[in-house]
């Protein structure tokens, strides 16, 4: 989905405010104020706070979904597929950590079909990841360990990366990816 410049600006300002104060505490008036425009003018571009949440959360979830679908369909090995998924999480984290914070903290404020759609994408994502690991185990590329522990361990790290990355002496994207791939795939010992 391509947004107009103004809509992109609204979404970015809102994502920052949601991260700082939490979705529920932010009003359309707050968003207008942060953009230095009148609330009435904001409504020319966006219907509601809910519409902004949908733009942020569904947009990112669709990006994860689309890349995961490409990865699943590719002829790469399981290891190469997992590396591409790690790279995907790192790329989105470095590009748009506010939107990721919003996805993680506020997805439950989505309603009706948006909420259903989001949950379906999230479940499909985990199922696809599981299928990749399972195939890797079958083919002897991945160790035969408990698959739920493997998935939880990798996803818990990738999904909270945005919290940690902003607090550290920033590694370059390349160094972060290299180290993360080694730590998550080959272990530290």
């Amino acid at each position: 989905m391509k947004l107009t410049d103004r809509k992109t600006e609204i979404v970015n300002v809102a994502a920052t405010l949601f991260k700082e104060k939490g979705y529920s505490a932010v009003t359309m008036r707050d968003i207008a104020q942060a953009m230095d425009i009148k609330a009435a003018s904001l409504y020319n571009h966006i219907k509601s706070k809910q519409e902004i949440l949908v733009l942020i959360v569904i947009e990112i979830a669709e990006e994860f979904t689309n890349v995961m679908n490409e990865v699943v369909c590719s002829k790469d090995s399981a290891i190469k597929k997992i590396e591409r998924i790690i790279q995907l999480h790192i790329d989105i984290t470095l590009r748009d950590s506010n939107a990721l914070a919003c996805l993680n903290n506020d997805w439950m404020h989505l309603t009706d079909s948006d909420l259903e759609y989001f949950i379906k994408m999230r479940n499909d994502y985990e199922e696809n990841f599981k299928a990749i690991i399972q195939k890797g185990i079958q083919e002897g590329d991945i160790k035969d360990l408990n698959i739920d522990v493997i998935i939880f361990s990798i996803l818990s790290t990738l999904r909270t990366l945005y919290i940690w990355y902003n607090k550290t002496n920033k590694l370059s994207s390349k160094a972060l990816t290299e180290n993360m791939v080694k730590v998550l795939l080959n272990g530290i010992v």
Copy 2:
């Protein structure tokens, strides 16, 4: 700190409510109601909601701190030390996931010296963990990878274990520990 039976009951009921509704949304009246006693009677045992939060969060933080101090002082290898820390997180997760949820979600509602004390314990914990990894790298037991990535990767998994563990087909404590140690230390490839 040893609590009376009644205090322990209050703390357990409160931790469950804090987890369900969030600390800010729970009142002393809610806690009394959940225990089927009068609010006035609750105040015979506990001064305030803040006192309950301190009992929950500081208690668990001190347990992490005490075991970490023992581990640091022991003559074990770096690997063995990390295994003991993984075991510590798993033991507390299986015993008291509500208190861990409270620690993770509500520690920022602590005030003044309690808040300072908590933050100091958390920082010391991470510094001690870092020192263990650093020594392991120096001695050649642990790979020479970026130390912040190693620590973040392990702690992000251990600290969110309580969210995941309640949603899965429960593994036994033994199977969980074995798999987690292998995944986090030796990797999956």
